[in-house]
Amino acid sequence: MGGGHGSSVDRLHLAGDTIIHRLAPHVKIVATFAFVISVAISPRQRVEVFAVAFACVLTLIMVARIPLRVWLARCAVILPFMTMAVLVPFVGGGEQTEVLGVSLSTDGLWAAFNIAAKALIGASASIVLAATTPVTGLLEGFARLRVPRVLISIVAFMIRYLDLLVAQLGRMRTAMVARAHDPRWLWQAKPIASSAGALFVRSYERGERVHQAMLARGYTGVMPDLVEQSRPRSDWWAAIVVPAPVVAVLVLGLL
């Protein structure tokens, strides 16, 4: 179930055999969640908490052998938030601070730092999780954490058919381009809108056919529990170790 193969969902996973790769998926999910929550609830003035959290994330990235280039490239998802963060000090009110001859809102600067730090650390933690766990592993992990089976099935079906859908969209676009459709302006968007409609209808029909195929194999409306019980390991220490430094610094400051 390695990465590559050109599938859009499996591409996030980087095959490897580090200690983080080997952890049970459900433990990794809990560890990531606990870590991100403890960062998210930290007050913005507690710079030392963010420093420790950032150091933790960097350590995880090193241990998981995720290339820094890959990490930085994937961090691009937080760019929209960063743009927001940059704007806040300029529009913020209250006390002003002089930075390089420009008068900026102190409160705004803190808000910008808050957004930037939490987004960067949170995204990085998720990147570690996604890069070290195959998609099927994540589904297994959520199943083990007692996430309702119907939700897991919905995600599993989405992942299974996403690539087919993207491929179909690609073929429809090729067909449009082959007939000289070259949209540049908003009023030329009509074919795109109607192809989205066609895609919806095709997906709906496929859904019907898949449902019939399921019925033919005895489906009664409840997804069978197919989670592999092959790894009954308890790696729960990881769920404590990962968020521990952040929580420790956070609590020490409150005393």
Binding site: S7, R206, Q212, M214, L215, G218, P224, L226
Partner: protein, 247 residues
């Protein structure tokens, strides 16, 4: 593993909201272990018939018996176990995140305990020569591999009868030959619905021609394919240069 005879009598079916009968007095008798090709043009009712064999269409008129079981709501679960339907688009049939989970789906629905399921999955995949694909993701498989895994998903339910809808569509000649070898090696009663007349001749000793929702011809495949008037009447055509009498 066992195989069951099939008996279909006077099957009629009209899709909701339509007047045209998709099936109009469809009748067919198949002996246990027989392999029969179902030939016919597009829209002749072949797929509607396939849906009936698995209880995916409600019976409107007529009767279907598989082995000693008559098609009715009470027998539906058992009939779906006994009749393995392999659909035209393998992507519709393989919907789980891994080949292993997909083949296990049927047995799990039948309530087979986890401990026995692994052995069943491995046996079914070995039977179709796809054991090496067990941990792969279905969307990474080639057309031929998908088809074999799709057949494994129904073999895992220990069916008495296989119904294959256009099994050679989208296969390259090599994959098509592998499929022929596989189907001939399986002991179950088989109905092979196809446009691929040489394929029918290769693996099915008997063929029926379906047109207008009923069986219009029934006989040894070589004889059916030699009847040019019959073929033309039913929009069936042999590939250029193919002579069934010289195979």
């Amino acid at each position: 593993m066992s195989c069951a005879p099939l008996s279909v009598d006077g099957l009629c079916f009209t899709y909701p909201g339509e007047h045209h009968r998709a099936l109009d007095g469809f009748g067919l008798q198949v002996a246990a272990g027989e392999r029969v090709a179902v030939l016919g043009p597009n829209g002749s009712g072949k797929t509607t018939f396939v849906m009936h064999l698995n209880g995916l269409h409600q019976l409107q008129q007529g009767a279907i018996t598989i082995g000693d079981l008559e098609m009715c709501d009470d027998n539906l679960a058992e009939i779906r176990r006994r009749v393995g339907a392999v659909f035209q688009d393998a992507d519709d049939q393989l919907f789980m995140p891994s080949v292993r989970a997909d083949v296990a789906f049927g047995p799990a629905n039948l309530g087979v305990p986890k401990a026995e399921r692994d052995a069943i999955v491995e046996r079914a995949l070995t039977q179709v020569g796809a054991m090496d694909l067990i941990d792969r993701t279905p969307h990474h498989l080639s057309g031929g591999e998908k088809r074999r895994v799709a057949i494994a998903t129904v073999l895992a339910m220990d069916p008495h009868m296989l119904v294959l809808d256009e099994p050679t569509s989208g296969l390259d000649p090599f994959g098509r030959r592998e499929l022929a070898d596989l189907l001939v090696s399986l002991p179950q009663t088989q109905l092979v619905v196809t446009h691929d007349l040489p394929f029918a001749l290769q693996i099915c000793p008997r063929s029926v021609v379906v047109s207008g929702g009923r069986v219009v011809a029934d006989g040894p495949t070589a004889e059916v394919l030699a009847d040019t008037a019959l073929l033309e009447e039913n929009r069936l055509e042999l590939p250029y240069g193919f002579d069934p009498s010289r195979v």
